[in-house]
């Protein structure tokens, strides 16, 4: 918190302009990761003091999207997004970073991982994107989500199984349906194909800008849309690409190039200093190989493949960029091709 407090104390960021905080905390990223909660409470306390609000009011006002897992070289860090003023009255020539947030309606456990979740997710993504006054869906470069996983009792789980429609209210299916919902909203996926059966099965359906994690206990999915818009000002822009596998470091250079950061072998320190946020998702390839050789991540009962793949992805990005404050996330069902996933970068 100390870095944020300093910025607030020096007036470089105003507490009442903060709309979202994305960050990586140092837990395991799984069910028993309490670092997200600890960080969020600390953020709420810091902002509540400055805004003279109750902590609960703060968490209704600001979106906190904290993701556990800073394996290997990845450094725990926060990206704090503040918005000053209103949308411009008339469009500028240049597009600038625009951010919007929204929430789905609450889901029942039975809806997760199925068409109901896909459609409601798509509806919210469309709505938030429209509110940013983008020229088209091509201006959306990152949809950062926490997918809902409403709690289900042992008895509900058993009843659903006996009813022939087993619950999918787990992290895998909530991420998968959310990503398909993003793809549907942005025209990447034909809605007719986005069926219950397609979830975790039709791997050719995917979004290249979704970045979804799922949170047990969450009843409504949280949606953050990052786009470039002619109606927003500031010095930031966002671009994205798709890593074809977890080692695909070439995509880093391509995305940076779209942001006007060009280099031959490695970006210079000045170029790296222009980067303010790196958001990537990839995974331990479910087919069991990377670049034609076996990997063992999926057979490890000591440490989850989610941890190994975040560690590997973080190291790939950090070595390419010389920067370890990268937001890496994993298990990327319907996020880009199998094994790979989307990469979005925000830069000045």
């Amino acid at each position: 918190m100390s870095g944020l407090c300093e910025l607030l104390d020096h007036g470089e960021v105003r507490a009442d302009e903060i709309v979202a905080v994305l960050g990586k905390t140092e837990g395991n990223g799984g069910r028993n990761d309490f670092t997200r909660e600890l960080c969020q409470r600390s953020l709420c306390r810091v902002l509540a003091e400055r805004l003279r609000l109750d902590q609960d009011e703060v968490s209704r006002r600001v979106v906190f999207s904290l993701s556990g897992g800073t394996e290997g070289v990845v450094s725990p860090h926060l990206c704090v997004f503040a918005r000053t003023g209103e949308a411009l009255p008339a469009p500028r020539a240049d597009k600038r970073l625009a951010i919007g947030v929204g929430w789905t309606r609450p889901f029942s456990p039975q809806e997760i991982g199925r068409r109901a979740q896909i459609e409601e997710t798509a509806r919210v993504v469309r709505e938030v994107a429209a509110s940013l006054c983008v020229d088209g869906t091509g201006d959306v470069h990152l949809v950062q989500m926490k997918g809902a996983i409403p709690p289900a009792t042992f008895e509900q789980t058993r009843a659903a199984r006996r009813g022939g429609s087993p619950l999918r209210s787990d992290m895998v299916h909530s991420r998968a349906a959310s990503a398909i919902g993003v793809g549907v909203a942005l025209g990447e996926i034909d809605p007719a194909l986005a069926t219950d059966d397609a979830v975790c099965s039709s791997w050719d359906l995917h979004s290249s800008v979704a970045s979804v994690s799922a949170k047990p206990g969450l009843e409504r999915s949280e949606v953050m849309v990052f786009a470039n818009s002619r109606f927003w000002a500031g010095d930031l822009r966002i671009e994205h690409g798709v890593m074809r596998d977890i080692l695909d470091v070439d995509t880093v250079a391509q995305v940076l190039s779209r942001l006007g950061i060009e280099y031959s072998t490695r970006p210079s320190e000045e170029q790296v200093a222009r980067i303010v946020g790196v958001f990537a998702k990839a995974e331990a390839d479910p087919r069991g190989t990377v670049r034609g050789r076996r990997h063992v991540m999926l057979d490890d009962d000591d440490v989850s493949d989610t941890r190994w793949s975040r560690c590997a992805l973080g190291a790939v990005l950090a070595s390419a960029l010389g920067e370890t404050a990268v937001y890496v996330s994993t298990r990327a069902e319907h996020h880009g091709p199998l094994g790979g996933g989307p990469l979005a970068i925000i830069a000045r």
Copy 2:
């Protein structure tokens, strides 16, 4: 084993010419890693059948240096070294890869991590290097070792502590003293400075070609020296560099350049196909930061920093090379600078 069996069956490798096998197996690389043993027994059985020898005779004839830990994208693999014929009668113009092996005398638990281990290690490294007819110590590019850790009983450990000279017979100190021994042998470290107190303390003393792991239960250290020599033939050469930290991907390009493999952003498939072995060592920086930012590897009581740093190092090398069969090892006390370590590559 199936790949090796095929090469043997097709006569591409002759069992009686095999002198050493280096490899990565998929265990945790710690005390309860049984994959090394399982792999070594399988190798012994394969070679024993073909050589019509007892398995114990095979393990006296061939050096097996199996290292556990293929975290993340690293693929389990074996590098099998075979030697045909004798040293050349007269030097060639070109230097070619030369390999020699040796063993220290057995150590007592009290000697590990102290001057006795340093000196005996240096003696053996010098002897093996000389046997390869190198022009000088500069021709030695990799000294791959398994450091001894003779077993000590609970009572021996207690007695040593009470006697004011606590045992150092652990992996940390055996690696450290071995690396200093290599540095002394090759003129990298002034023998006068290689004292008991310097071990795990005088971090400016280090070798840039040592690559040591340590094995509980081993009474004699195993030493493999890889050099370039005018008295050896074949189509292989070895070069090395020092990674200044675990993200130092630029060193990869420098070492490949010395092997005649030059490229702008990434090596081509043809260039990668020339590479036959990549051996690297680096570590979770003991000062707690990488490139100026905090890492959390050293405070993790769920998963060892050795596993995270192998995963990160493997991903860095694999993304730079497009090849996941890389031999990565970690905890690199007195191997290059703090946090970094040596990188050696063998190529055609």
Copy 3:
């Protein structure tokens, strides 16, 4: 191996009379547990040398049922079963321990966790039990199994999912269907209720003598039946009970009492010395509580509930018996009530 070698060398056990080896090895009991394989190969080598057979012949002749996971106080150990002579020509007054082994036919991935696996398992259990000349199914006290999990490719898995009948070829379902099969064979479960839908859902269906683990890659399930029979001699008998939860230490006293070992608070050393095998199965209660209080085993993404529950069960038994060589296994779907499971003890 050293203990077994000594017994063989001293003639206390004859290699050609060994029919089965059950044992606990010190791995994680999961997919990447290589200790079972290492132990089995060592056993094969020891027996092959003495029987002057090929190692592959040994593994066709002797059933090796090695189970990973000696968490906490549980000591790695082997129970070696040897059979001398043939079945008696006429029944004795007393029943004695009888052992028989069998194998199911190979299964396809689609059959696992479904009725096909249940029925074939039941058939084999009935056949092996009959071969032991038991008076009735009540004489069967332990059916120790390794359930098949034939390998399925990524494409097979996807095709099954798209076909509306997702594969159940995992450890959970193979254990569950095997246990139901045992219950059907022994009259504990009405075959009409043993449907596809009942697996992992109708928790009231269970066997009180099944003890199943499942092994990825195994194509046929292995079945070992332990019973008391009038046609067998020797000084051993077996009895069983059902632990109602993982802490149910009272069942230990009840089973020992049936074996003629009676005591008030704790068995004496002489009584413990009569015990030659303790085989128990229980689990982290899937409802999330033990004795009315929350446990956290099922929300732990660092260490599997299988490891914690083996550790807890082993400690419960070891503290009750004063003996740490106990065979504990976990995840007990359809093995006794939820959270609990069967306990069988063999004693002189």
Copy 4:
């Protein structure tokens, strides 16, 4: 928190009378266990609201001793100690539970694990015990401590090593010196033997009432003394015993007997309901065996022996008592004999 809030809301406990909270939280009990911090902050917030104090003031007023690690069947729980009124003006015939708290002076990293820490700990324990008006040291049955581990930089650590007196500012040595300090204070250990060299070496020196954990970052050790005193009223008493090893379930019956709870095989539900706190410490025997057989806890590089031994100890106590809310702690250097440790029980 919900249970505590209810008690406070119903007036069964008054916030201003709470002096200490001991509890088990569900983290790993190691350096990266954030559950203790999260729980403590939640407690502070709950109490701050009710006491209309700042959260920092609450944490100066109440001792929070939260210990991570509820492995296996152990249930996360809090024991909240409230004190009403003052010490009695004259002694009663019966002794009742008395609680006192204190803090050592801040330590330098160099003092930890050495005589300076022992002596200061002993001084505070004596002082707090005296304040409870006990008849003698025999009335003290539990000294619950958090041992200090002041932070040391990489450079301080290196300088100390080069100076010939390596830092001992780790969990092992802080626990060890604290326990010796308790033993010295209570006459269990001859102060003349409590030297620097004795720490983690003279295992015959131990306290039977100390229960110390150590907390990285803590500069002053926290001391809580639990005793029986004629000057205190209420319906609670405390007794203790020493488990001779981690399976020593007989000590449970002995301690309960001293509290007037007598039974033959297992305590009745009514008897269990009289128990309000169970505090035990034991460990994976450092000699590598339990009851004459090998255990593998100390060679496990996947999961710490601290976690396995807490799991085993918790299961032993829970199966003996039928109660899973037990406070178990591990690594018990100089706490009772090697492998074992103290057990204290508070009951009505």
